[in-house]
Amino acid sequence: MIDRRLITNFDWTLFGIVLVVCAVGVVNIYSASASYTIVGTPFFVKQLYWIVAGLLLVVVVCSIDYHLLEDVSYWFYGLLCFLLLVVLVVGKTSMGATRWLHLGFFSIQPSEPMKIVAIMVLARFFSNYSTAGGLTLKDLAYPALFIGVPAALIMKQPDLGTAILVILIACSMFAYVGVRLSAFVACLVSAIPAVYLAWHYYLRDYQKNRILNFLDPERDPLSSGYHIIQSKIAIGSGGVLGKGFMQGTQAQLRFLPEQHTDFAFSVFGEEWGFVGCLVLLLLYLFLIFWGLHIASRCNDRFGSLMAVGVTAMLFWHIVINIGMVIGIFPVVGVPLPLFSYGGTSMITSMVGVAILLNISMRRFMF
């Protein structure tokens, strides 16, 4: 069933980078959560479980020819849109947002798989679509609708970060397919009133506050702006070489918020300094380039588009998360893929990696 060529063509480079990043992440989580009073399994051990689970998922996903995804992508899309609607109606509310859906024995967060499915549905759409000379505004109508519906539902939860990610992933794929200048300009122009309307009618107060605090962190130094300030202090105080493993005072004395999840990079920056950050960023950049490399050497449009989409997903997570903790983007609650603690994030990232591996190992199939 599994072709021998698939084993020989397995992309060890990509797999290796992913394992290195995961390992650095686990070490970092160990330090970040050292000051916590832990009841039960420590976070870094749980993260290891998630990595193992993710790797099992990689094996499963890799064993299925990704072309099969092409056929089911619309079905998946329809199902997830339905689940997003259900979440809004009966979902579980935690910390002011309704994101989780309880399905008897387990809970899911439909917005997470939606990122992957959005990539699938767009890849499916463009793979059968003639795009000579670039996409016109009319060509963008259906894809925009595909993305707009789930993005609006996710924002309603409200989960601004994921909604923005879905839109950015889609835009990256549009850019790959090629957009005509006229359509690009039209999009930009129409974005202005859209942002205006979103600000006044759609965003919640806490979301607006996050954005305002990002623009002016001193505005409210003791509540939401506090996170950004403390994070910048942590990273900056690390200097060139960092304070050393387990030696970050900001992290160990818990001045950082959510320091094992969204702000894991702050802990890393404080303890490993500029050199550590540079190495981690280069690893990520290599991962991105490799993803685009997979896209470029893939022989079919669906696979290539999927590879770009998944790479874009990883890329935007990385840029937004790091940008957030170093204070150049607003705090939107996006984890650093493969690095932050968290099962959901790990599974989504691993599925993305699996799709890349899948495409990479089947590049000679046609």
């Binding site: 000051s35 793979s127 059968n128 003639s130 990256s172 850019a175 790959y176 397919v177 090629g178 003791l222 403390q230 910048k232 202090i233 942590a234 990273i235 900056g236 105080s237 690390g238 200097g239 060139v240 005072t249 900001q250 004395l253 818990r254 001045f255 920056g269 404080e270 300094g273 500029f274 950050c277 540079l278 960023l281 990520y284 950049l285 991105i288 380039f289 685009l292 896209a295 470029s296 022989n299 079919d300 449009r301 669906f302 290539s304 770009v308 890329f315 840029v319 790091i322 940008g323 170093i326 204070g327 150049i328 046609f366």
Partner: protein, 640 residues
């Protein structure tokens, strides 16, 4: 599979991937630039911020120095005081908590809320003090109910303990939390909000030495402000202690002698200027200023017409009345205008131009020489002498006694009194000095003003034949082990260069005041010690008819200055009884009581225990005591 779906020949897509790669690299470069800015450019600044995040300096107040009297008895020391503070971030239900605290502490809820609101905006997890100086009973109630008071902390800090309650309150002064205004001034540099600082008296003047050097503990805290460990510690340096010149027993007796009367007394060693007692009556309770001053008590202090908060010994300026005749007499003797044989005739009043200046004795004294003029305080004698001297010569002699300017006792807001002369009147009122102004000045009325401390310094200088010592309160500064850090030697403010003969003649008159029949100061007489003194009555308002009941605030002030023993003077006493009316009857007995205590203590110290009763014990109602009355004459001006 449809051939259309393959892109290996699609050049456009390959180019797009290059664009995407460049875009990705550019954004990563942006992140790196920012990291470089934070971790290399701003690293130092952010590192120090991370340090100040985790490190907190907790001040440790130095224990304040003790204040002793001249015999080593403790006057002021320290005791622990408890205050209630709250950490707002740890309180869930503020209203319920305030309700409870208000009930336990019996403090108005609004007052607690006010303190809470004012304390906001400080560092996170920083305790806000809601009530300080709580009683032991309240402390017990709080401890018992600790469970119901989450976020509430009890803090302990040392406060002043006044061993004798209100004794010498003005002189010792009080401490209180440093005010916001003081913090802005250089005077309070090194102080933080909430620190205690001397606010008046010795506590204020000697703040630097008494305070000591506060220490501090550098502690590491986590984001919730919980203390993790002490990183470094600077122990506080205990403040220096002061040994005062005050004699507690004498001070107590002097305060007791005043009773309910308002006034001031100063007891001074005539050979050193050491102040043995300094009274300003009524007093106040200095302990109330360090804790929570009960509002009704505060109101009582402010509304009392006798001004209990003011140190009258230094700030009270009174017309010296007939005590000033000493100066006029010395001036006349030195200028050769009078001698022991010259005399004047007093027919009860003296007419100058169109004005009549009355003697307090309406019947007149008849022919009086200097000794009798002093003894019976004849006003006419001194009117005539004053007329011959003129104001500028009187003022010059007054200034030989350093009058008209503060003596530099070393406490805040000491007043200088006033010695008027023609130039002064010209400058102050733009009017010429008239001979009619000189006559009241010659008997210490009119414009002349002196403080009780100046009265004491003056009579002290008369006693020692002309040396004005600086009155002082601190004998020495000692450290915690009792080692002397600084010793204060007598300091001369002025030497009068008046001849011993003039002093002898005046002092003979002063001896007669107390010890001869007809003298105005008979009530100051002691059995075995010869006391010399001078009575004085200073006019509060001009009032021709003084018969009948005069309202308290319009009654004359009673003054008495004295020194003893006559032959070898040791101490000088000045007493002012506000609205006491007659120096001889109101002030002299207080002076006598002080002098008696002094000499009793001296003889019992010289004759150790078992040597029998004090020889001064039986001198009550000895001699005729004189009439003890004299009246100030109407002067053309009104005084305070």
């Amino acid at each position: 599979m449809n051939g259309q779906r393959f892109i290996h020949d699609n050049y456009g897509s390959k180019r797009q991937l290059v664009v995407l790669s460049i875009f990705a690299a550019a954004l990563f470069f942006l992140l790196l630039t920012r990291l470089w800015y934070l971790q290399i450019v701003k690293s130092e600044e952010l590192h120090s911020q991370s340090e100040s995040n985790r490190l907190r300096l907790v001040p440790v107040a130095a224990s304040r120095g003790t204040i002793f009297d001249r015999n080593g008895a403790v006057l002021v020391t320290n005791r622990p005081s408890f205050s209630v503070a709250v950490i707002p971030q740890e309180v869930r239900d503020r209203d319920a908590l305030l309700e409870r605290l208000s009930r336990y502490l019996e403090i108005d809820r609004a007052e607690l809320l006010d303190k809470w609101e004012k304390g906001k905006g400080r560092a996170r997890y920083y305790p806000i003090v809601l009530a300080s100086g709580i009683t032991r009973d309240q402390l017990e109630v709080l401890e018992e109910n600790r469970l119901w008071l989450p976020g509430v902390e009890i803090e302990m800090k040392p406060v002043r303990q006044y061993e004798d309650g209100t004794l010498a309150a003005h002189l010792l002064g009080y401490i209180g939390e440093v005010s916001d205004e003081d913090l802005k001034k250089d005077a309070a540099s090194g102080y933080n909000s909430g620190d205690y600082i001397g606010k008046s008296g010795i506590e204020r003047s000697w703040e630097k030495l008494l305070h000591g050097r506060d220490g501090g503990r550098q502690i590491e805290v986590d984001a919730r402000g919980r203390v993790l460990r002490t990183i470094s510690e600077t122990p506080p340096a205990v403040g220096s202690s002061l040994v005062l010149t005050i004699d507690t027993a004498l001070q107590k007796q002097a305060e007791k002698a005043f009773g309910e009367q308002a006034g001031a007394a100063v007891v001074m060693d005539v050979n050193t200027g050491e102040i043995l007692a300094m009274v300003s009556n009524p007093g106040f309770d200095p302990a109330l200023f360090a804790g929570r001053m009960p509002p009704d008590k505060w109101k009582e202090y402010l509304e009392d017409k006798r001004h209990p908060l003011e140190n009258k010994a230094l700030k009270g300026q009174y017309p010296p009345g007939s005590t000033f005749k000493i100066i006029t007499a010395l001036a006349g003797l030195e200028e050769g205008l009078i001698d022991e044989r010259s005399s004047s005739y007093c027919k009860g009043a003296y007419v100058l131009g169109r004005n009549t200046f009355r003697c307090w004795e309406k019947k007149g004294h008849g022919t009086v020489d200097l000794k009798r003029a002093l003894k019976e305080s004849c006003d006419v004698y001194f009117y005539q002498l004053g007329e011959k001297l003129g104001i500028n010569r009187i003022a010059a002699y007054a200034r030989k006694f350093a009058l008209g300017a503060p003596l530099g006792v070393g406490l805040e807001n000491e007043k200088g009194g006033l010695i008027p002369d023609s130039a002064w009147k010209e400058k102050r009122y733009g009017k010429k000095w008239l001979q009619g102004d000189t006559l009241p000045a010659a008997i210490g009325q009119g414009y002349v003003l002196m403080t009780p401390i100046q009265l004491a310094a003056m009579i002290g200088a008369v006693a020692n034949d002309g040396t004005v010592y600086r009155p002082h309160l601190v004998k020495r500064v000692i450290d915690q082990e009792g080692r002397v850090i600084r010793e204060f030697k007598p300091e001369v403010v002025a030497r009068t260069s008046i001849s011993p003969r003039s002093f002898r003649l005046v002092k003979e008159g002063l001896l007669a005041v107390v010890n001869e029949g007809g003298g105005t100061g008979g009530q100051a007489r002691l059995y075995d010690v010869r006391v010399a003194g001078k009575t004085g009555t200073s006019q509060v308002v001009k009032q021709r008819d003084k018969r009948g009941a005069i309202p308290y605030q319009y009654r004359d002030h009673a003054l008495f200055v004295a020194f003893a023993p006559y032959d070898r003077p040791e101490i000088a006493v000045a007493v002012v009884v506000e609205h006491g009316e007659h120096g001889g009857s109101a002030a002299a007995p207080i002076a006598r009581s002080i002098l008696r205590t002094y000499f009793e203590r001296k003889s019992s110290a010289a004759k150790p225990a078992g040597a029998g009763s004090s020889p001064t014990g039986g001198d009550e109602k000895h001699g005729t005591g004189g009439n003890g009355r004299e009246n100030a004459n109407p002067a053309p001006q009104e005084e305070e």
